[in-house]
Subunit: 205 residues, 2 copies
Amino acid sequence: MCAAALCIKKQRMDQHIASVPLEKASRLINHGPTILVSARHGGVQNVMAAAWACALDFAPPKLTVVLDKIAQTRELVEQSSTFVIQVPTVAQLNLTHQVGTRSLFREPDKLVQSGVNLFEIDGYDLPFVAGCSAWLACKLIPEPHNQETYDLFIGEVVGAWADTRVFKEGHWDFEGAGPGWRSLHYIAGGHFYAIGEAFSQGDGP
Amino acid sequence: MCAAALCIKKQRMDQHIASVPLEKASRLINHGPTILVSARHGGVQNVMAAAWACALDFAPPKLTVVLDKIAQTRELVEQSSTFVIQVPTVAQLNLTHQVGTRSLFREPDKLVQSGVNLFEIDGYDLPFVAGCSAWLACKLIPEPHNQETYDLFIGEVVGAWADTRVFKEGHWDFEGAGPGWRSLHYIAGGHFYAIGEAFSQGDGP
């Protein structure tokens, strides 16, 4: 017997996933992608989408994420003091929209219905979403005033990984990877943009 | 006689700029663009680039921005308690990189050298950067602990505008505007991505 949310088959880490040095972790979210937040506590795990996440510091790497009071993921973050921020891809557009609109409170099988597969990384008791391009394991830095007043949570990044098919040697390679690997950037009402063309300083007019 | 930073000719608001309802202001930065922060106090004004800015709330709209202690713009924000967050375009790639790497402390003519033109909006004593796609006038919500510990500043958006050639009727139209209008998303080392293709929920696999 198991809670529905835990009945997802646990997968091993994909062979394409490689760790990213912590000093380069901010690069994984520096371009402002919509992200997925996942957390686990007391036999319950959940995943939600969030457009409001942002790097906060380089060393040690920190980030902010806004978690609404109605989100069950927020409860799990507060209870476990750990969470994962991961970067979904264009191939995960509908998954991202589903986990951003369905509620685990109302639908105990939300993750299955949303097509989420979770996997484990040795040494981290956290649910990682398979198929993403990058993952940041975070430890909550408790700031009760920010959390209560602004729904604003601060995490220290304690582990970082990326799929080497789209992030290699410290750099995104959206140009070289297939179009399904591009990051998603949510606007509103189910409308997203994918990240686009690369430019370097000096390319402009 | 005037301070070099104020010797930039003041321009009127462009005819293409229209106000955006405050309840839709978050859409202007929801996709995670790199932004420009500008502020003015005591006859000094400055503009800096920042990748670490993020929406925080819808109503009233709020946002966060990380301002390093070495930035003169931070001093101006702390002194005046107001600032502008604006969304630069691909056409402003080099301007964005220049204001993100030059320092007004070391180069009093930083803005001129960076190609910045400022304009005024009636009712707001703030320096707006011409040529951007969107502007958010912000009032600082003082949070000394966040500012000192994390370099994290919270602003309430009190006015919002966009260029109707790229944001119309509450929606970005990067598809319809020329490629120079796309937002910039900074990674590191002078490397940016432009925002790319539009997708709607339901388009995915």
